[in-house]
Subunit: 159 residues, 2 copies
Amino acid sequence: MISPLATPDPRLDLVLERDVDVPLERVWKAWTTPEHLRHWFVPKPWTVTACEMDLRPGGVFSTTMRSPDGQEFPNVGCYLEVVENERLVFTDALLPGFRPAPKPFFTGALLLERRGSGTRYTAIAIHGDEPSRKNHEEMGFHDGWGTVLDQLVAFIKQS
Amino acid sequence: MISPLATPDPRLDLVLERDVDVPLERVWKAWTTPEHLRHWFVPKPWTVTACEMDLRPGGVFSTTMRSPDGQEFPNVGCYLEVVENERLVFTDALLPGFRPAPKPFFTGALLLERRGSGTRYTAIAIHGDEPSRKNHEEMGFHDGWGTVLDQLVAFIKQS
């Protein structure tokens, strides 16, 4: 029972799509294992100092990012859809247990498709309004999500 | 993969639990069939003038209520969890396709358990903060949800 994920709307949403030469299962694992995720999830020299995952709808997905000057930024949300090796959807609009969150920003979707021995990697940020999309863009969505994808591929190749 | 639904917190949440003498399958059907729902979902003389359901996570759940003086109030959200005859979870914090919604208010959960030939009916409203819970209470949660449960039981018995 796959969900009818919102079709990306250029006014509201941001999309990063790229083919990478690492196997789909390894990408899935890097996204769904806290010990893997902390190696690549934020652009260096930022770091991930904490990560919690309960891989089921309503289960916690939280990360804490630390800036180079030592400030910590916790993010907490939950998963909405978990289809192994294929689709991972999460949001910060709902806390774990589906409780409405104080500051909703976006729903994220990771879509994976096999391309030979590599993977077509699609990451989508779905926003509720245009200012949120713009804000995310100005925070450096394209560079940032592109950089972490480079980091993810490098992590997989070296581990 | 059942979700870890938030445990009701008396500060934030509202719960209606009652045993009713109608079969569980009929209660499920009344909640999941637009043509049934409009007969009981709002306290009369309010009416439901439109209802749309796509019974899967991320699928639309929308209703339009009309007040006795003819004003219409549309509500749109999506389902989060659909476990037939057992559990239905929906929210207005996300629009269909999991897009963050402009005015999140609550996540609703319907839990059904068989009790002999009847049903233990539990309806939970999960809020993000205390003012939302209080607001919902002052809108008449207990009377309102109790009244529509009476209407639901009456609808099932007469149809």
